[in-house]
Amino acid sequence: MKKYEVVVVGAGPAGLSAAIECARAGAKVLVADENNKPGGQLFKQIHKFFGSKEHKAGVRGIYIGEQLLKETENLSIEVWLGSEVCGIDADKSVWIIKNKEESCCVKAERIIIASGATENSIAFEGWTLPGVMGAGAAQTMMNCYRVLPGKRVLMIGSGNVGVIVSYQLLQAGAEVVGIVEAASALGGYGVHTAKVRRAGVPFYTGYTVKRGIGEKYIEAAEIVKLDSDWKHIPGSEKILTADTICLAVGLTPLIELAWLAGCRFTYSAKLGGHIPVHNKYMETTVKGIYIAGDVSGIEEASTAMEEGRLAGISAAWSLGYYDDQEAEILIEEEWRKLNLLRCGQFGVNRKVSKDEILNKWEEMRNE
């Protein structure tokens, strides 16, 4: 059985950052990812990132992805692509279907799970028709494969994903017939919301989608106004002609591997669902198993990269590649950067929720 000091699951922003830190410290690392290309969802993010300069603010996601790949290559990190991790045992054996055909098992001293997230759905009449898709799916088609998924698109959800993908649909040449938001206020950052508004896209606040209309695929959408109890108001329906309905209604962490590994969980609505409880070193309740990125709570790619670094540094430290003093300085620095990303009107909620998870870890340790 092949042995590695660290096995990282997922080659997205969190996983690659974690692997880079481990390799930089001197550890022998393997990264496994089920996709044929590394980078996770970074390569569809053609918008400029937020935060400060040290968080690469103003740089488009695609270029951040390229930088990460270059660092990974420079450090000669072993990356298995097309290789799905399907199990983690208590003794840290990692089961992988290598190259989609060969089942194999590798032994790890430390595991960093950076499995990411999946998009949420909402169910409505007609939602299974071709033409209803995740906003991320539309983004992948446009920005990774240069294929326009539809010509007239209705966006459900006005959060960052909803407004950013709407703008990218306009950039790619589609028409966005509207952005529907069930809440009374819009959910996205002002900079992105303003861009689509300036482009003339109508917002329907206090509305939801009631029905997707069409026989073989979407031809129109019916939206309806909601009352203060989130119930449909009869008579307030509007029909919008559209060939595509995109759903941008949040994300859920992909936690299956952490469950299999025996990690303990807590529920956090603000972070997207059940989250593996972890400490400030990103270590879960299972010793030697770390998490980073969206699996530890839905945030942004910039946060995922810092968390990945934090997990990587912590894992390398626990393997003896840093002494306590060196590790403390590096870890403090990562926390400083994370705190900068978790402040302000949008960030502070995530900061509070993350603190609750850290407290939960302390509670569980003392049980």
Partner: protein, 111 residues
């Protein structure tokens, strides 16, 4: 629905190597390295399969290999996730009915 020829961030489309694939006997030009789902949507094909019990159409949904809504029969193998499977020269793709069936020589047993 169509290819994006010009793009303010990604730039103009660069020439890529073409491959020929077949969907329900229709010849389709695809680009090397792109996923089957992308090639089909670019050529106006949106329905990838029909469900087993109610014969309802399904197409691309999550685009990252999680939801399995976009599965089709590819080179005789049913339930292939077309959003994460790259095209290959001469690939034969069929709209899948229900759970599909294995199309190997001398073995057409429905599953």
């Amino acid at each position: 629905m169509s290819r994006i020829k010009e793009h303010p961030i990604l730039g103009n489309e660069i020439r890529r190597k073409k491959v020929t694939i077949y969907c329900d006997n229709r010849e389709i030009k695809a680009y090397e390295g792109e996923m089957i789902a992308a090639a089909l949507i670019a050529n106006g094909i949106r329905t990838f399969r029909y469900t087993k019990r109610f014969d309802k159409p399904r197409g691309l949904y999550c685009g990252i290999g999680r939801c399995t809504d976009c599965v089709m029969t590819v080179n005789g193998i049913p339930n292939v996730r077309t959003c994460i499977t790259p095209v290959e020269e001469g690939m034969v793709i069929t709209t899948q009915e229900g759970l599909g069936c294995w199309e190997r020589s001398g073995d057409n047993e429905k599953i």
